[in-house]
């Protein structure tokens, strides 16, 4: 209890509140702007937070994450251009409702269901994080190795264009993390005589390159894309009666979203799509989906925001990111000298509760900011790309340079961006690579420690029941994406 109070007291400092509020504002803004995203904003902000109080900067990022998820829905509803991938499902009915002359109602439903989904997940987060951390404290290196392999295998099921490519990207990310001095032996690996590479590839420039630069190059193809905006007048919150009629959908989606968020590597996009599908499946009027139906908005909105909260649970309790954005928050924790994983809650519990508080605050703040500023946020989509993206490049340039005042990092950022652009064209997503890069050190470290403990015999790893469990889960998660295909192959074809 003392830690909870300490965390909240920390949050109540004016500077911290302002930073969190700023995080919400930036989150809604980048969420609303198609092309910009919360992972990109976090990657760009990360180097500038080094000099800030760690609790404040991590809380700001957590607030930005929550708000960014909602921000994407504003443009999804008003201009049918989801600002962020999780808002794609919201656009299906949100835009239709706006077209039917009720943009204000659509925004109100999206905002309130987002907040309710977010709060639901935060409550789970508050109770689940210490519990999970308690379990994880009993883990040895071999169990941790099993867990991180399972987390990487979840990349197969992560939203993206191809499961195999997600796994390849994840493996490449882990591989890149091996560059630099090998801690166990002191051997320099893959430095090719470049002094800067002996320290390894730094997260921040790679993250900026992959999220910001590759998107800049993608945007260079669509400079003349026109958008049509709905008038966002008559914003209104849903009535109590309306909310009561939607309570089943909101609760179901919140639970589903939180669960999906907690699963390593799964994120808001999967949650939103599943939230939409489940809302339709349980609906008494499924035929109305796609025509501007309220359940089609609250289903994905509650789920995607709940997933954002849920994704923080494995990130903080296990040190395993629950999504691409939380992978960045994990990188920020490491950058600020924290030990993500079960020790975070035993050594710095106030930080965990401060993050919890920041997310709670963010949920209420974006309700106000999002609704009051919806019209403004829909206008920001009209900032010409010819001016918006050069600005992003400048922030990328400064962000990657500021991290360690080395032009080498700027090159890393740019090259990562160029590779990222061509990788994206070929169906590779940046998030699995980032997850691999961030988990890489832990995978190698725990593997090496386990080999030492089990006298260099991998088969002895199976002495641990928890390791066996994670291996079974790994096999299941690797095969999940192909179940549908296999099932359809063996399904008897209808006789013509």
């Amino acid at each position: 209890m003392e830690d909870v109070i300490r965390g909240f007291v920390l949050l109540m400092e004016v500077q911290n509140l302002l930073l969190i509020f700023g995080g919400v504002l930036v989150g809604v803004l980048v969420g609303a702007l198609p092309g910009l995203s919360s992972p990109m904003a976090i990657a760009l902000l990360m180097p500038f937070t080094i000099s800030l109080d760690p609790v404040a900067s991590i809380s700001m990022m957590a607030a930005l994450y929550c708000a960014g998820t909602f921000g994407g829905s504003i443009t999804a509803i008003l201009i049918n251009a989801p600002g962020a991938p999780p808002a794609v499902a919201t656009a299906l009915d949100g835009y239709q409702m706006a077209k039917n002359g009720e943009p204000g109602r659509a925004l109100g439903l999206a905002a309130v269901s987002s907040v309710l989904g977010g709060i639901f997940a935060i409550v789970i987060f508050l109770f689940a994080t210490p519990l999970l951390a308690d379990i994880a404290l009993k883990f040895g290196p071999v169990e941790y190795f099993g867990l991180s392999v399972f987390a990487l295998s979840m990349l197969a099921a992560m939203s993206g264009k191809s499961s195999i490519r997600n796994l390849v990207a994840g493996a490449l990310g882990v591989f890149v993390s091996t560059i630099g001095v090998h801690l166990a032996t002191g051997v320099e690996r893959y430095d090719f005589g470049v002094q800067e590479l002996t320290e390894g590839i730094k997260f921040v420039p790679v993250l900026i390159g992959l999220f910001a630069m590759s998107e800049l190059l993608t945007q260079s193809k669509t400079l003349n894309a026109a958008v049509e905006r709905m008038s966002a007048r008559a914003l209104r919150l849903p009535t109590f009666a309306e909310l009561k009629s939607l309570k089943g959908t909101i609760l179901r989606s919140s639970g589903l979203g939180t669960f999906i968020g907690i699963l390593p590597a799964e994120g808001s996009t999967v949650a939103a799509m599943m939230g939409y599908n489940e809302a339709k499946r349980f609906s008494k009027t499924p035929e109305k989906f796609g025509t501007g139906c309220a359940e089609g908005i609250v289903g994905p909105e509650a789920a995607n925001n709940a997933a954002a909260g849920g994704a923080m649970v494995p990130t903080l309790a296990l040190g395993i990111p629950g999504s691409g954005t939380t992978a960045l928050i994990l990188a920020a924790l490491v950058m600020h000298g924290f030990r993500p994983g079960p020790y975070l809650i035993t050594e710095t519990p106030h930080l965990v509760y401060a993050i919890f508080g920041a997310m709670l605050f963010a949920n209420f703040a974006f309700l106000g900011i999002g609704l009051a500023g919806a019209r403004f946020f829909s206008y920001v989509t009209f900032i010409p790309k010819r001016f918006l993206w050069p600005s992003v490049f400048i922030f990328s340039l400064i962000g990657s340079y500021a991290y360690s005042s080395a032009i080498f990092d700027v090159w890393v950022m740019l090259i990562s961006g160029i590779i990222g652009y061509f990788a994206l064209r070929n169906g590779f997503s940046p998030a699995p690579f980032v997850m691999g890069l961030i988990l890489g050190k832990m995978v190698e470290e725990t593997f090496t420690q386990s080999m030492v403990i089990y006298e260099s015999n991998f088969m002895n790893f199976f002495d641990s029941g928890v390791f066996i469990l994670f291996m079974v889960l790994t096999v299941i998660s690797l095969s999940t994406p192909f179940w549908g295909q296999i099932r359809s192959k063996f399904k008897p074809k209808p006789v013509e």
């Binding site: 500038f48 591989f175 091996t178 190059l217 400079l223 010819r386 030492v452």
Partner: protein, 176 residues
């Protein structure tokens, strides 16, 4: 008849020539070549002292990863057989050639970064704000001029003056 021809042409282009996907094969070859080079490089790492044992050698983990990578990459050219809809989507995205504007943007960014240290932060920002919108076809020269002065000025004030971030003066130092 024409409809039939369209259908006939569509399949090989999107899904590669029957058994193997050509574009994905090229992609797999690139990844395998990268992996093979890294595997070869790992073989050159010095061995750990005997007291630490074989499994602690610096090449063990990278070699293991590259082997996993090879297995995964081997599936890529045949992925269109397993998940045809997903690969068709990827094919649609990469079907369009990279536009000249994207290539020019890449070249411009490489040039900017090459000279960034010499030019210094402020001049680099100014040139970026001037050159990138013009390259991307912005013809409102007044807006570009205002943007190229105001935005770097704002960034300089915010990060250098307010947040105390070091900005390399570069070429501006010569003017002092």
């Amino acid at each position: 008849m024409s409809e039939e021809k369209k259908t006939f042409d569509f399949a090989p282009r999107t899904l590669g020539a029957g058994f193997i996907h050509k574009k994905d094969l090229v992609l797999a070859i690139i990844l395998v070549a990268f992996g093979a080079f890294m595997y070869y490089e790992a073989g050159k790492f010095p061995e750990a002292p005997a007291i630490l044992g074989d499994t602690l050698n610096a090449d063990v983990f990278p070699k293991m990863l590259i082997t996993i990578l090879f297995i995964l990459v081997a599936i890529i050219p045949f992925e269109f057989k397993i998940t045809p809809a997903k690969i068709a989507k990827i094919d649609k995205d990469r079907g369009d050639r990279t536009l000249p504007i994207t290539w020019f943007t890449i070249v411009l960014l490489l040039v900017i970064v090459s000279f960034a240290e010499f030019l210094g932060a402020v001049v680099t920002m100014f040139i970026t704000c001037l050159a990138l919108p013009l390259l991307w076809g912005e013809r409102n020269y007044i807006a570009v001029a205002i943007y190229s002065v105001v935005f770097p000025g704002f960034v300089y004030l915010l990060f250098n003056k307010l947040l105390g971030l070091y900005f390399n003066p570069g070429i501006l130092e010569l003017l002092k």
